[in-house]
């Protein structure tokens, strides 16, 4: 019943607010699915050990050490991915809930808060992508220096 009421109210919104409402609804579903995917990925990462690949022993490390290092880095990346997912979920889901309620109640302050949350969601992704590009750049530079040194 409440859903039908919401649909009626949504139908009375102007095209602008209807578009914001759609973004909020789809964003909410995307946030939930992303978090679910990350949690299940984390469970799989922590419970299933990585496949034993024959990694060559390097620079004084035993083969077992290399395998442990690979396992630890998997744990690190799984944890990092989970933290990022939780933080982005919080902002996107907050935007979704606040925007939908603000539009149905005609609360412009709440709508502003919702849009601030969306801005923070994109800000996090902006910073993360910047860091990713920075590390890609370092990798490229390292590769080029290694090539120039004849390694």
């Amino acid at each position: 019943m409440d859903n039908i009421g919401n649909q009626d109210a949504e139908g009375k919104l102007s095209p602008l607010y209807r578009n914001i409402f759609s973004v909020a609804r789809i964003g909410g579903y995307a946030a939930l699915l992303s978090l679910a995917g990350s949690v299940i990925g984390a469970i799989a990462g922590f419970t299933k050990p990585i496949a034993a690949v024959s990694l060559p022993a390097k620079e004084g490390f035993e083969e077992v050490d290399v395998q442990q290092l690979a396992q630890s880095s998997t744990y690190f990346f799984v944890t990092l991915s989970l933290i990022i997912s939780v933080v982005t979920f919080y902002f996107l889901f907050r935007f979704s809930k606040l925007a939908q309620s603000a539009l149905l109640r005609g609360d412009s302050i709440k709508l502003s808060e919702a849009l601030q949350s969306l801005a923070k969601y994109f800000k996090i992704w902006g910073i993360l992508l910047f860091l990713m590009m920075f590390f890609f750049g370092l990798l490229l530079l390292g590769g080029m220096l290694n090539g120039a040194a004849g390694g």
């Binding site: 699915l33 299940i40 799989a44 299933k48 709508l111 849009l115 801005a119 990713m132 590009m133």
Partner: protein, 143 residues
């Protein structure tokens, strides 16, 4: 006097056209542009990498998958191109949304802001599809 019938037809009370949200919209515009530009930068890096060592990378991935009787290499190449163009499309939507948010706030044009939210909607639809695929993949990985 307003009759009851007119009262019923009145739309749901709407906030003043985004007046208090202008700062938030500008922030969204700024960060969506940053995400799109960096995304295109990373895409260019990936293209360069694939131009120089793509065959080797894809052959290694295909051999590590080693599905019996299946020729995984062409599937991987096709998958890479589909993924690449989907990501490019998503970034294009973000860039368009960013431009329209900025112009909409500058010119106080709600039509442009509405279009920007339309592009953002397409962006989140693709994010939703990727999230569903990732969830399915992780579930298969867990089982």
């Amino acid at each position: 006097m307003v009759s009851e019938e007119q009262e019923e037809e009145k739309p749901v009370s709407e906030p003043d056209p985004l007046e208090p949200s202008q700062n938030a919209l500008l922030q969204i515009s700024r960060w969506t542009r940053q995400v799109a530009v960096i995304g295109f930068g990373i895409g260019a890096f990936v293209v360069m990498t694939m131009l120089f060592g793509g065959v080797q990378v894809l052959t290694t991935v295909a051999s590590s998958l080693s599905l019996e009787g299946a020729n995984t290499y062409p599937v991987l190449v096709a998958g890479f191109f589909i993924l690449f163009f989907l990501v490019a499309l998503v970034l294009f939507y973000l860039l368009k949304a960013s431009q329209l948010f900025f112009l909409g706030v500058q010119q106080k044009n709600t039509e442009m802001i509405s279009q920007a939210f339309g592009y953002l909607k397409y962006f989140f639809v693709v994010v939703l599809v990727f999230a569903a695929l990732r969830l399915t993949g992780n579930l298969f990985n867990l089982l």
